[in-house]
């Protein structure tokens, strides 16, 4: 049940006062990944990007924080939130990321 269901169930009487949302980052429950038409594939055929921590341009520029830095030196593309914009693919200096049609 997302916060939207929770707040819907509350009815008008029990909503938090003043139109606030009473806890942080509730948007995490909204998966923008459903917007994707293309999906980024990193190191599809070859491990071109082997030392992400030395670069991290894709991680830094991703508008949706959909690329996670994973210990000790790996990247993880979070398909819950990636909107498939293609910025990472275009900006990657090694061209290690390709955009592929979403099935």
């Amino acid at each position: 049940m997302t916060i939207q269901d929770e707040y819907r169930k509350k009815g008008w009487k029990n909503l938090p006062p003043g139109g606030i949302v009473d806890r942080p980052a509730t948007a995490l429950e909204y998966k923008t990944g459903t917007w994707r038409a293309f999906r980024p594939i990193r190191n599809k055929d070859k491990k071109i990007c082997q030392n992400p921590e030395a670069c991290l341009i894709c991680w830094a520029l991703c508008p949706d924080a959909a690329i996670k830095r994973v210990e000790p030196n790996e990247l993880e593309f979070d398909m819950d939130y990636c909107k498939g914009c293609g910025v990472c693919a275009l900006e990657c200096p090694l061209k290690a990321i390709e955009m592929e049609q979403e099935e």
Binding site: E6, A27, T32, L56, L61, A66, G84, G86
Partner: protein, 323 residues
């Protein structure tokens, strides 16, 4: 000099300001801007005061709020005034011991419309009063939240829905308002231009602004794929061209007087403005059905003139002994 991140890896891994799940357009660099501000000051708790704008609307659709930090929106034209109140409230509550003494930074952020036009009075007042806060203007050169209407930030000749490329009038008649010089004229300790294409430079400037005890201002260019009509992947590439073509040079102004140029390097040969304009749909009418060299030249001359002024100001500042 305080230590500033020199590598992206220096930036904290975790998200400290905006969270995933916001509904900015696919590929919108405003999301990146909000993320980087949070990462620029990893050790300082932030309170975020947002103007009515794309970033505000798209990140907080009730009851979904994409913020890890206390987030406040009031209205469109009063972000700096609202931030002044937040600052004053915090200061006095701390002074009276009602809340623990903490080095909380108040971030005020708005789009170009909310900063150049309707919000400039509140900003001028807040800077003049010397409140300790950072104002960030993310500039996508039109009222994008309401569907791409022309603002004071829109460049000359650009199409918007209220400065259409018509048979008689070709896009916006006026030139982009020199916002940073207007802000600098207040004599505040620090203000700077930045670009999403230069993330480390932007982060350094946000941190520099936060370190100022008093008002500071960062004006970051953020090309808008919907309003400028280019592909969802190209926001940062277009921003880079804006800087390299000297259309939007990156510089800092100390005490409203000393100009320090960051990018592009004056020694590099100029990227012709045409390269910046040509793959933006909002300027298509300058290329099709046939190229309008006259207007392109006018834009180039204006860019060159502004660039020369900036070089002189930077040169003069270097020689000046005042700061």
């Amino acid at each position: 000099m305080a230590d500033y991140p020199t590598r992206l890896a220096d930036l904290p891994k975790e998200e400290r300001s905006v969270s995933s799940g916001h509904r900015l357009c696919t590929g919108c660099a405003a999301g990146t801007i909000a993320r980087l501000v949070g990462k620029a000051v990893p050790d300082k708790p932030l309170i975020w005061v947002n103007a009515t704008c794309c970033m505000e609307v798209a990140t907080t659709i009730y009851p979904f709020a994409a913020w890890h930090i206390p987030w406040l929106h009031n209205a469109f034209e009063n972000t700096a005034a609202t931030a002044s109140g937040v600052r004053a409230g915090l200061d006095m509550l701390m002074k009276k011991g009602r809340v623990p003494e903490r080095d909380i930074e108040v971030i005020a952020i708005g789009g170009d419309g909310g900063t150049y036009d309707i919000g400039i009075q509140a900003i001028s007042g807040a800077i003049e009063r010397g409140h300790d806060f950072v104002y960030i203007c993310y500039d996508n050169e039109a009222y994008m939240n309401t569907g791409i209407q022309r603002s004071g930030a829109t460049m000359h000749a650009a199409w918007t829905t209220t400065s259409p490329a018509g048979e008689v009038v070709l896009g916006k008649k006026e030139f982009k308002k020199p916002l940073l010089r207007i802000v600098a004229a207040h004599g505040l300790e620090y203000c700077a231009t930045a670009s999403v294409s230069h993330p480390l430079d932007f982060v350094r400037k946000v941190k520099r602004a936060v370190d100022v005890k008093g008002p500071a201002f960062v004006h970051v260019i953020q090309p808008c794929l919907r309003g400028w009509r280019f592909d969802t992947s190209e926001s940062f590439q277009v921003a880079r061209l804006a800087v390299e073509s000297r259309f939007f040079p990156l510089y800092e102004v100390y005490h409203g007087y000393k100009y320090v140029l960051n990018y592009p390097n004056p020694a590099l040969s100029k990227v012709p403005i045409e390269d910046y304009l040509k793959n933006q749909g909002r300027l298509r009418h300058l290329f099709r059905p046939e190229k309008n060299q006259e207007i392109i030249n006018i834009i180039q001359e204006h860019v060159d003139l502004e660039w020369e002024k900036l070089l002189e100001l930077a040169e003069f500042s270097e020689k000046s002994a005042i700061y």
